[in-house]
Amino acid sequence: MSTAILEKFLIDYVEAIEGETELVDEGTYTVLYGSEPTLKTVTFEIEAAKENHQIELFLPGSIFFDSVIRDATAKGCTCATYLSGFQVVTKVIQFEAMRNFSFVDYRKDGAKKIEPKIPSFQPYNFRIWTFAFKVRVTTDIIEDHLYAVSIDARTSKILKNFTEYLDKFQHLSHYEESIPDYHLQDFQRYYHAAIEYMKQKLTTLIAGKKQEARDLKIKETGRIKKYYDTLNEEMEDALEKKAGDREAVAEIHAKQKAMLLQRQSALGDIEFRYRMGAGMSLVSVLITNYPCYVSKVSVPSSMQTAEYDIIWNPIFKRFEPLVCPTCKNQSYTLNFLRSGIRCQNCFKNS
């Protein structure tokens, strides 16, 4: 794969800042960028840079690479996107909705399937918030992790791997036609959900690292103690053997003293080396706006008429499940009973 990742990153960067790149040789580009346009020739090949000192290297640790990373991480911290390009035929989803949801009325004379009228679907703006967190755990080594946590602003639930979907869609800076916002939850709720998710992740991560550091510390400490204890024993033996030789005894005593200091310092080093630290920072936020199609449905039963929003999600290509009023879990089946409305699970358990 070679330096392909870096090559793609550089091209994306220059494109994002509205510059231009041109491949002039294998692994070598001319780059035009900046408000007062700067022209640079950059390469991923050390041989090319050696041949021509005007060519700048673009490799980790190089000046240009570091400056691009600095600039790219300073940009794009607070972003919004409007997804577009969904092929939705409202008539089709109107038809599909009936097959996906099931409403059953339990009357005295038995169960009867309710077939509510599904009004046409209208687009509403929905949001998903993605918070990118960078975590650094430090023991004797440094380890970084990057987490992109996406939360559905309607339900405050985590959407795993949502960022993987994003490249499949067309991104706009606003909708071509305005559509109303759907009723969404308070920002604090889903931000809190993201933080709680991160706390869980960190708990697992830190516990693992802590254990690893503890094991290494015990091993290292054991090794050092054993080593110096054996050395000390050997010196004690020597002392016994040289008991009559005052000069030799004094020399061994001096060595013993120095050795004890070394032991103390080595143990102190280990204690310091495996001290654990951790930090987390919120590095970027993305608000993804996308149209969902909503049909406001009335479901009449022998007991009551309930109102539901049936939502077609074009990102995941599915209808969003309804919430069971009894257990609050999600379900596509609701049973209307004298005792209340229950999903299939609640119904079986009742």
């Binding site: 919004a80 992740k201 991560l205």
Partner: protein
Amino acid sequence: MSVEVLQIADIPVSFSSDIDLKKLIPADKLETYQLFRLNLEAHKLSLLPAFDTLLSLNLSRGIIPFEHQINSVKKLLGRFRGRGMLCDEVGLGKTIEASLAMLELITRGLIKRVLIMVPPSLIEQWKEETSFKFNLEFITSDDKEFKSHGSAAWGKFDRIIASIHTAKKSPHSDAIKQEDFDLIIVDEAHHLKNANTVGWKFINSLKKKYIFLLTATPVQNNLEDLFNLVTLVYPGELGTLKSFKKNFVSAGDRLTPKNYEQLRSLLGELIIRNRRATSDVKFTKRYAKTIRVQLSEQEKALYESVSDVVRNQYKGSPQQVKMSLRILQEEIGSIPPAAVSTLESLKDKLPDSAQIDGLIEQCNLMACSEKVEVLIDVINKTPDKVIVFTKFRASHTAIMAALEKHGIRYSPLHGGLTRHEKEKSIKEFQNTSKALVSTDVGSEGRNLQFCNHIINFDLPWNPMKIEQRIGRISRIGQEKEVHVTNLSAKDTIEDHILYLLDAKINMFELVIGEIDVILGRLDEETDFETLIMDAWTKSPDTKQFESEITQLGEDLLAAKQKYSTLKNTEDKIFGDQFNTTTAEKTATEDAEDEHRDS
């Protein structure tokens, strides 16, 4: 900027953010998705993930590391925390492993200053590998610029490849001890087997955050060797020398360990040893053929005249003149025109300049050597494409002229070409030419495994350089048997070197890397080419030189046999327990989840 502290698993975790979340709605003034993606990618590129994700794999060039090499790097950096011994059997790529691990530490910003110490014969090889395969530029202690700074050079440069023989000597050793190198790599570390030597004491005294010791033969004469090497990496890991001997060395047999299991368990924490038998590295067979060329009377007489000058002037000459005389001897062993420029440079430095003038004239007149004729014949009789290697540009020119004359299509490759011209030449050779005429410098960093036949028009005196030539085609991706044809003029030094390396120890069929181990056992302090030159210059006549060579041959054979015996012993000590052909399961499910999340 907001900062708060979260208490997680009893560890205070600082949580900071530059983002004012309250200002995010309405979203009109926010940046685009493209910039969000870029921001995320930039963070990923500057991330320091756990060592089970290697960043260096994306940055190395032209190599696809083997699984055992990748696992070795993960183990060395992850479990061993960057202090360990790479003791793979020869031919499995310890240099690749060490360089990948080094690149990994550099990429993560964990190290800046690196000192690689190697035997003198391997300096150029390391420089080439680190530059071409890993995009890492090093200065060598042989470099003029380095030397111009005296011992201050050790503090001036961040990445140095040095001869360990130079480094351990004063005033260099004192200067190096003052420096803080982040990573120390010692290749052929078995030379540090003895704790009473200057070399061992020197390495032990260095300040180092990370250290990699590389050797295929950690046990040289007895188990104490192993103890001394381990102590350089982790003092105390094997206890004190006295306790080590008591616990692990059989009485009366210093090569046989006792308490195998306990010893293996201790060594398992710092030694990586992959074996060819269990690795996925497979090479095709190699065949070598030597053609001894009978020089014309005139050319032979010229060879002897030049050799006499070398012999007579070598002893007592200043070092620089000695160096030139050695080069002259190598050049005349190639073809006479190759010697002209050195003879010219020596004219003012040697007593009899008229004699040198005469030799220059004769060399110029003898452009068409017998060897060139034989080369043409060999190329014509070979159905495959061939790479003709020569050490010298003058020989390169003469070979090209001869090929031209005989209508043989060829492509040139030498250090004077630009990167582009080199690539073009190689492509042309691959597609249309019959021969690639290359100098050693020209072929640096190039993989030429689409060809399976090389001809050594002349022979480097340094066997490592011969291996490098073979290594251009005998490498991963080579599907055919490899053929090496050596040309040597009868009764020249090269002729004798070939006798030693080919007839005596069968070097051309050894695994790449083994010759180095064998030569290391022959003489630790003096390189092979110096041994040859010394034998040549101290012998008054050919008979005496032959006797010296015979003795050297016996020593070489003994070294090869000793190597073979020790290999068996090492197999007994290490077995297959230290190989990394199967990855350790270091990644937790949670880590996998994280990867997916991000």
